[in-house]
């Protein structure tokens, strides 16, 4: 993985010192609240319902064992013993004390981590496929490009005070596992007809109160020109993005107002005038960065192991885990093992300090000392030899981290909701727990198969409800929590935004509603292989609507 050199380290250390000074000035009354706010946000610090919330950057979701242990240390020392992984592969702590945040940042800096630009109207963490480097359907490893982009974006002097937040995601595989089309910029790494490597550039996707899918504004951009092109897009946005209305300030609104074709023209015109040579990535730059992400020294004999198949045949609980929580690996005899942070009794994405330590140990022993955070708020040990999977599973299971539900209904995405977030209209964690209860029989879950429920406690859409196969959005109606439901969203290659079912459901009704939706699917699907999304696209909204609102009409 990428390791800091003296320059990276100095920049991070300086930011810690600067933030310490900003906190001191704020507490001394020298820095007004409305100015400390955007400054602390640029360091990931929110003031939440009960306490500050600190969001720590995990670039493209990649963590070393050492870093994960530091996160465990932070959870224990400064928080209530746990953390929360987000849909952008970062981790949040919900209970730090403002005065201690500079110390937390200093601890993070010791393991090459920081909270820079994890919030605020600036370029946020760069995300990508959590199976980067091991996926079979991958063209090249996207992480060197992510890291180059991370460095370009970090403390960019021109783009630190944008109209609104700005999110960039990379994908280099046939299946988009990074939800690139709902990002401000989605970069697809591709080859052109001649075999040259480059990028397709998508702009203007986003969730929130006006969910939109990104438009492709350039089919092929040569590999060397990534940063100058990003610079051009950001400059057009910084100059012309709306600043008069926070709800219309994302780049998606600019793209929509101008029209994607016109917007593309504006970017191209700006790009044509940029000194591209100054930004060009040389072969040497790319090689130096790629050297940080070389494949691990895999054991060529790994596939000779028989114990994996034996365990699979003899232990049905293990077989269930393998079926749901393993993904194929490029190297023979290796598996990507998912650590589920969606146990029935916890908030999706939550993990305790002890669990972090345990995963760090497993990574160190069995997966080359690395672990990844996924867009779906789970973790994954990407490089486990098949002979070790059984041991890894037993250890995870003993710690409550082996729920075999990856990709299933109970593997739902969820924001912190009203329980923690000052923006939320409605609770989401409680609803998640109730849905979990309804579907607690694993056999039933397997029968339902691949289904993505995504839930947000408010319009801001941190839980990506618009692209859930079933999306749930918390709304406030006269002080009560209500839930709007959408069907048919997707954040993958076939990206689409969900359709509203109709009137929203009360807190008492929402789990029932989900159950009915699933019933309709089970009754109407063509066969076991037709997924919820395929079925919905075939039969449309009507049958679901009918079932959901039947009683109401009758009454």
């Amino acid at each position: 993985m990428y390791r800091y050199d003296q320059y990276d380290q100095r920049l991070v250390d300086q930011r810690v010192a600067e933030f310490r000074d900003q906190t001191r000035r704020y507490l001394a009354g020298e820095l007004p609240d409305d100015e400390f706010r955007p400054l602390r946000l640029r360091n990931g610090l929110y003031i939440q319902r009960f306490a500050p919330m600190l969001r720590i950057s995990v670039p493209y979701g990649l963590l070393s064992s050492k870093q994960l242990r530091m996160l465990a240390h932070i959870a224990r020392t400064y928080d209530k013993g746990y953390g929360h992984f987000t849909t952008r592969q970062n981790i949040q702590f919900n209970w730090p004390r403002l005065e201690q945040v500079p110390d937390i940042l200093a601890d993070l800096a010791r393991v090459e981590m920081h909270a820079i630009q994890t919030s605020g109207n600036c370029i946020r963490n760069i995300t990508t496929d959590h199976l980067a480097g091991v996926a079979g359907d991958e063209l090249v490893d996207p992480r060197p490009y992510c890291e180059l982009t991370r460095q370009w974006a970090t403390f960019h002097p021109e783009f630190n005070w944008l109209p609104r937040k700005f999110k960039i995601a990379f994908s280099a595989s046939t299946t988009d596992r990074a939800a690139t089309q709902v990002h401000d910029i989605g970069v697809h790494i591709v080859r052109d007809a001649t075999g040259a490597l480059g990028y397709s550039i998508y702009v203007g996707g986003g969730l929130g109160r006006m969910p939109m899918l990104a438009h492709r504004i350039r089919e092929f951009l040569p590999e060397a020109d990534l940063l100058s092109y990003l610079e051009a897009i950001l400059r057009v946005y910084n100059r012309l993005g709306r600043r008069d209305n926070i709800h219309r300030a994302r780049i998606k609104i600019l793209v929509k107002d101008k029209g994607p074709a016109k917007f593309a023209e504006m970017v191209e015109a700006e790009w044509a005038q940029i000194d591209r040579a100054a930004f060009a990535l040389t072969a040497e730059d790319l090689e130096r960065m790629k050297a940080h992400f070389t494949p691990h020294p895999y054991d060529p004999q790994a596939a000779a192991d028989n114990s994996f198949d034996t365990a699979l045949a003899n232990d049905s609980a293990f077989a269930a885990f393998v079926r749901r929580n393993l993904r194929e690996h490029r190297a023979p005899g290796y598996k990507a093992v998912f650590v589920s942070l969606k146990a029935p009794d916890i908030a999706p994405g939550d993990i305790t300090a002890a669990q972090m330590d345990l995963v760090a140990d497993l990574a160190e022993r069995y997966s080359f000392g690395e672990v990844r955070a996924t867009h779906d708020q789970n973790l994954v040990l990407t490089d486990v030899q098949q002979k070790d999977v059984y041991t890894v599973w037993q250890t995870l299971r003993a710690a409550g981290l082996a729920t075999p539900n990856i990709g299933l209904l109970t593997d739902l995405i969820c924001c912190p909701g009203l329980d923690f977030c000052s923006l939320a209209n409605a609770g989401s964690i409680g609803v998640a727990a109730e849905i979990n209860d309804r579907f607690d029989s694993l056999d039933h879950l397997y029968d339902i198969g691949e289904i993505k429920i995504k839930m947000s406690g408010c319009m801001n859409g941190c839980g990506h409800h618009s692209v859930g196969h079933i999306g749930i959005l918390g709304v406030d109606k006269k002080g009560e929590e209500w839930y709007q439901v959408t069907l048919g969203g997707s954040a993958e290659n076939d990206a689409s935004l969900g359709d509203r079912t109709g009137p929203s459901f009360s807190r008492d009704e929402i789990a029932d509603a989900v159950e009915r939706i699933v019933e309709v699917y089970l009754e109407r699907r063509r066969d076991d292989d037709e997924t919820f999304l395929q079925c919905y696209r075939r039969i449309g909204m009507a049958p679901f609507k009918e079932r959901l609102y039947a009683e109401e009409t009758a009454a």
């Binding site: 320059y7 920049l11 960019h156 002097p157 005070w161 944008l162 910084n238 100054a278 040497e284 130096r288």
Partner: protein
Amino acid sequence: MSALIRDRHLVEDDYASLADDAPLPPAGKVIVSLERWSAERETLERSGLTIGVRIPNTADLAEVWPQLCDRPLIEVQFPAFGDGRAYSQARLLRERYGFNGELRASGAAVVIDQAAQLSRCGVNAFVLRADQRAEAFLEALQRAAETAWYQHPSGAPLPLHARRRATV
């Protein structure tokens, strides 16, 4: 009265900032709005005054540069703490249009916490917001100048990736 920092020194401001309806002084240096400059350019040019121009942060430099190219001073404005449009103007003036006169920043964002970004985008003169301490601002400029940043906007030493090439 706000302090002026120019080229990393605290100085007396030798320019008077003129409102659009203010009469011209008999001699000296003034800053006028782009609007006034466009409307009264001939009169102003004949006045014998040294004239800088203050541009709104919405001005499109591709359009207005021809009017500005011979000015000794251009002032970019930050009407709000979080409004970063003038950062793009500053870089464009320095890097695209080759402006090498005084590039002055004024407004709500001319504070210690944005000093590094302003100078890195090519601003060399700062009308400090009234509540800012000049010494702390100068220190922030000093730190920014000594730091190896990832990017290389105007006048900066080599960007980091180029330094790294050199060190291999």
